[in-house]
Amino acid sequence: MQVNGEFRPLIVAFCCNWCSYAGADLAGTNRLNYPADVKIIRVPCSCRVNPMFVLRAFQRGADGVILCGCHPGDCHYTSGNYFTRRRMTLLFSMLDFMGIERERTRVEWVSAAEGAKFAKTMNEFCEAVAKLGENKRLEDLRCKK
């Protein structure tokens, strides 16, 4: 998306309810800035994120997709993020294999106490995606305005 002649990436962040969403709340409570480009979608657990959600986001115009969950070992549901870890490692590896820029996807473990990490992660991710520019390789032209 171009805003005042400057490219602003659209970032979709899936956050697990118990750790990362709370971490994002904490970032807010501590007034830690990160770009408004980030739109958070709450899921019960990172393991709820279906690869098709990730692709859907790209289809609809997202320039980057990030998944945040509890640190391995801290999952509210004991094992959810372990499955996430495998699923997303393989999916992102495949996207990379298909030539989709690997910096457009990321998984980060953020606990409910890590507001600062959440903000830092989002700042870094936005910057990395902004550098890449618009998502052209997984776009659906029909969805462009």
Binding site: R60, R142, C143, K145
Partner: protein, 340 residues
């Protein structure tokens, strides 16, 4: 009137056509298979007999955007998205594919006319190319098609030295006129000679003697209720390969796609082999794969001829024979019935 052009000047011909209109012709891909590509400087005409996908794509593409609309509560705004069509030329269409347009025309140009198809037909010039080395899968002659004198707006013959061209329609004449500077008028002797040789090969093709009489002599219901369908269809995978490579299959589905800021209505090819083909609110009219399999062949061999003066809905291009994952095809179906 026959014209010719030395083979080494083919590129000049293509360049001249391209200068005016888009030109599409069969090109070899890196996997050795041919497909239609737009001609650009350096593009070479394929040496293969035919393309994997048929020339149908130019007039009835796999997906066509029909219109856009916006919905706001109960208001609907419809937007016609059709841009002005440009003229184009398809070169190198074989006799079988050329005949497919006769069949497609009967469907799409009958009342009510399909304006999307009609527009494409209007703007497209089909330049055909006679076959010289038919494949074992070819059986166009079963349906009375002469591979050595293809239909189309203009027909071509390629020999070692020359490309011969002759107009069949007014559009074809106009096409030849547009490139006349490159052509010289000539006799049709060489063409005749080639036709004789190729016809001889065609007569020896494995399926040259296949007869379709069974489907003319027996009633629709007898064929429909035959026990043979069960066995013939038992290993069908229900994929749409035969349908999608077929030059005469013309079924489509209409879908809406919500882009988030409007609806796009488009149509896409559909296949009667699919379980959800013509699925209706209540259920599906054909519940088993046997019924769906039967539908495809009944349509080509019975329903279509019944409605079109006995003309079969197949042109014998052989694509389904070479592409079916389980090697079940119309020839095996015809033969199974002919056995009786």
């Amino acid at each position: 009137m026959m014209f010719r052009l030395p083979v080494n000047r083919l590129d000049d011909l293509f360049a001249a056509v391209s200068a005016v209109n888009s030109l599409y012709l069969p090109v070899d891909g890196n996997d050795g298979r041919a497909s239609y590509k737009k001609w650009v400087e350096g593009t070479k005409l394929s040496s293969k007999l035919n393309t994997v996908r048929s020339a149908k794509d130019f007039f009835f593409p796999q997906t066509t955007n029909l219109c856009d609309f916006n919905v706001k509560d109960k208001e609907i705004e419809v937007i016609d998205i059709r841009a002005d069509s440009e003229d184009f030329v398809v070169f190198g269409v074989r006799a079988c594919d050329a005949r497919s347009f006769t069949i497609l025309d009967k469907v799409f140009l009958a009342d009510p006319i399909d304006s999307y198809y009609a527009t494409k037909r209007e703007h497209g010039t089909i330049v055909t190319l006679a076959c010289t080395r038919p494949e074992e899968n070819c059986f166009c002659n079963v349906f009375g098609i002469d591979m050595t004198s293809p239909e189309g707006d203009a027909a071509c013959w390629l020999t070692d030295e020359y490309l011969y061209i002759n107009a069949n329609t007014g559009k074809g004449t106009a096409f030849i006129d547009s490139i006349k500077a490159l052509l010289e008028e000539c006799s049709d002797e060489d063409v005749k000679a080639q036709q004789t040789t190729v016809k001889e090969i065609a007569g020896k093709l494995p399926f040259a003697g296949v007869s379709t009489d069974y489907f003319k002599k027996n009633t629709l219901l007898d064929i429909f209720n035959s026990e043979k369908w069960e066995k013939l269809s038992e290993s069908c995978l229900a994929c749409g390969t035969c349908t999608f490579v077929c030059p005469t299959c013309q079924c489509y589905d209409i879908k809406d796609f919500n882009t988030g800021h409007g609806i796009k209505r488009y149509r896409t090819w559909d296949s009667c082999m699919y379980a959800d083909f013509t699925k209706m609110a209540a259920a599906n009219s054909r519940n088993t794969q046997m019924q769906r399999f039967r539908q495809r062949f009944m349509h080509k061999l019975v329903y279509f001829p019944d409605n079109n003066n006995g003309e079969f809905g197949c042109v014998g291009c052989g694509r389904c024979l070479s592409r079916c994952p389980i090697s079940m095809n119309i020839i095996k179906v015809i033969k199974a019935f002919e056995e009786e």
